[in-house]
Amino acid sequence: MRTRNWWMLGFIVLLTLSSVWVVLPGTVLDIGGFKERHPIREGLDLQGGLQVLMEARPPDGGSVDKGTLDGTRDTLERRVNALGVSEPLIQTRGGNQIVVELPGVSNPEQAVAVLQQTAQLEVIDPAGYSLSAGMQVQTSLSQQREAQDAAAASPSPGASPAASPAATAAATAASSSEVGPVLGETAPTPTPESTANGPVFTTIISGTDLKNAYATTDQTGAWVVAFELQSGAADTFYNYTSQHIGQQIGFVLDGTVISAPVLRNAIGAQGQIDGMSATEAQNLALQLKAGALGVPLQVVSSQTVGPSLGRDSVDRSLLAGIIGLGAVALFMILYYRIPGVLAVLALLIYTSITLALYKLIPVTLTLPGIAGFILSIGMAVDANVLIFARLKEELRSGKTLARSIEAGFDHAWPSIRDSNISTMITCAILYWFGQFTGATIITGFALTLFVGVAVSLFTAITVTRTFLRVMVDWGMIRNPWWLGMGRLEMRAMAGD
């Protein structure tokens, strides 16, 4: 028994030290950059920024499938990365919504405009340049679009919505007829026309020409992305590819090369891209699909929070937390004496483990999340209150100190377990509810409360118990007064 207590105590000390290490801010003692990779994630309401919930609304009024939505999310992810936002959050929600959170964005108007663009997929002629995935390129189609947008925007803003679908169609037609003569030449491909920003590549076919794309395996079992083209584009593509076997071809999404395979044979209505892992194939298929559809996104709800507004809330909540913790500690010590001190110690350990978990999971901390955490402090104390109340009862019934401690824990356990499980059920439902409102505010609260309740189960049962056992082993508590027994009560018991 004794050695087991010591092992437990050692384990608790180790756990606490590592938690404190994780929680402590700054780069002090940061081994291998671990702490830098696990910062505390602050929600929008704390650090300011933009949250938008967007709904995919296909032009034909139909619905989007999961693959397309995932592809659209990937497209958004790439654009957000281009915006240079740290720790963005982009998630699909339900069947047709995407939620985007951009913490610390200073220009929300611009960010919304960037997000709302429709994805533009093109297949380009590398024209002798060596392409690789991730390269930013300019294409003939994108240049035409920009020119048209500028032309449409300047005279009358009212004309722009009507102009865009027609513009896409015209651009597609223009690019395919332009490609024709170039393809006829067997001579080395001419150098593309250069601008100040580098070469402009010729668009062979665009997203609207792509019928379908999916990841599959070929006869050898290797992963490939298979794609199908619309009948009109198939001819154009066959003409081009039959002339360029052995050369690279570039798949470009929103001006970024996403794949640059080498042509092995001529491709007509159907083709495939190989040389990828399963995940790569799936990602590429999603990107191609989303780019092909170009699903327009409508902002259905948004939230912008100014940066200093959030800072103020953090400071206030922190102050509230410290005052709350202090007041609870005072109450516990005054009412429960030695066990109260142990409970407060357990509470501090609880706080450090919980905060460390927030960093490791990671839990995005929001204002209600902080409220959830502070509330969970109150609930963590509850487990201790239950145990100590039980301990006193066992002492009153005339048991020895050591036996009372064990009996107190055993009897308090069912009610601690049942009450905490019911709180966890509520947390799970809250989390689910939060998923649909498009607000990390609610899911954040549910997650912090859940983590808090789970950790409090551990600290109440393991930490407080071990402390009490070790103290009895050491003979540190002989007098039951220290456990909150009244003097008169003790005298009465001794008189029995």
């Binding site: 300011g48 919930l53 108007e109 611009q110 919304v112 709302q116 803003p157 902002v299 259905v300 709800s301 948004s302 939230q303 912008t304 929070v305 100014g306 940066p307 200093s308 103020d312 809330s313 206030r316 909540s317 509230a320 937390g321 005052i323 709350g324 007041a327 609870v328 409220a371 502070i374 509330l375 402090i377 109150g378 104390v381 509850d382 209150v385 239950l386 109340a389 069912p414 009610s415 049942d418 009450s419 905490n420 019911s422 709180t423 059920i425 509520t426 947390c427 439902i429 809250l430 689910w432 509810f433 939060g434 649909f436 409102t437 498009g438 607000a439 505010i441 609610i442 609260f445 549910a446």
Partner: protein
């Protein structure tokens, strides 16, 4: 120890006295639903100096939003204004125009601006989900209690008593916010639903602790009658219930007094709910068990529906 269980009719009457104004307020006035439920925009701006709210209203009216309501929030020295209006899209021309017009009234502090916009369709779905979430929480808890108390004679009785106590707490919080909405224009938002669900969890948490004692004392046959056992169990858990609520109330009070203004209503809902939850677990949930076991509830129903007492009810007496 006072005999809590034998005075159960007093406690039921007290709860009824609290519930009636709450229910009346909910029926007559209802709740002021915020933009999370109705759709629209809530725009908070801050000036470096005081600005006439009428002028802000006029800016919105000039831009085709005649229903904008402007309210000064926070300390008067902070010059913060909250405007509730129809949907204004982030990044739209409209927003830019209004921002420019607002800028002519005084110097705006852009770092302290916040705008949240909720589409009408999203609002409706949040409202439906809220009802579903509360219902799902109730069913989940009912099933868990029935499972945890499966060794007692009537596991579902415990579940139902806990749910009634929980609804009692939820109704009181809803009622208070209905009254606050009536008198002070306080709105309920998605965060309020979060508070409501937390209260449900806490209420049941507290009830289970008392029920657990009843379960244990029943197994040990510490007293002859069910009423005695319940009374004894309440006496044993009373100090714990009060202490736990106190610690939670201490932390919540700290949050209410020192926390940010955006969580004030949320914390207030929790404060009311925790007090109601503690009260109902002792004075309602356990008393419902006693009233059922002594057939008072069944007899009351029989009187209401003017039926003869069913023979099964008499033979079931313990």
């Amino acid at each position: 120890m006072e005999h809590i269980a034998s005075r159960r009719n007093t406690w039921f009457a007290l709860s009824a006295a609290l519930l009636i104004p709450c229910i009346l307020a909910l029926i007559i006035h209802g709740l002021n639903f915020g933009i999370d439920f109705t759709g629209g925009s809530a725009w908070e701006i801050r000036y470096t100096d005081s600005v006439d709210t009428e002028k802000i209203v006029a800016v919105f009216a000039d831009n085709g939003l005649p229903n904008a309501r402007v309210q000064q929030v926070g300390d008067a020295s902070e010059h913060r204004y909250l405007i509730r209006t129809e949907e204004i899209r982030e990044g739209s021309e409209e927003k830019k125009k209004i921002t420019d017009a607002l800028g002519t009234l005084g110097t705006l502090v852009p770092e302290d601006e916040s705008l949240s916009t909720v589409g009408a369709s999203v609002g409706t779905s949040i409202r439906n989900r809220s009802v579903l979430a509360v219902a799902a929480a109730s069913v989940g808890i009912l099933l868990y209690i029935a499972f945890a108390f499966r060794n007692t004679q009537r596991p579902f009785l415990y579940g139902i008593a806990a749910i009634i106590a929980m609804l009692h707490d939820a109704l009181i919080v809803l009622g208070v916010f209905s009254i606050l909405g009536w008198l002070f224009d306080v709105e309920v938002d998605a965060l309020f639903i979060t508070a409501l669900l937390t209260i449900i969890g806490f209420s049941v948490h507290d009830t289970i602790v008392v029920f657990d004692r009843i379960r244990e004392n029943l197994a040990n046959r510490v007293a002859s009658s069910f009423e005695e056992i319940v009374n004894y169990s309440i006496a044993q858990t009373l100090v714990r219930s009060v202490n736990t609520s106190l610690t939670v109330l201490i932390t919540l009070a700290a949050l209410y007094l020192f926390g940010g203004s955006s969580t004030k209503n949320f914390v207030l809902a929790l404060l009311i709910g925790v007090v109601a939850g503690t009260y109902s677990s002792i004075f309602n949930a356990s008393q419902i068990l006693v009233a059922w076991e002594t057939h008072e509830i069944q007899n009351a129903f029989n009187r209401i529906f003017r039926r003869k007492q069913s023979p099964s009810a008499t033979t079931r007496a313990a």
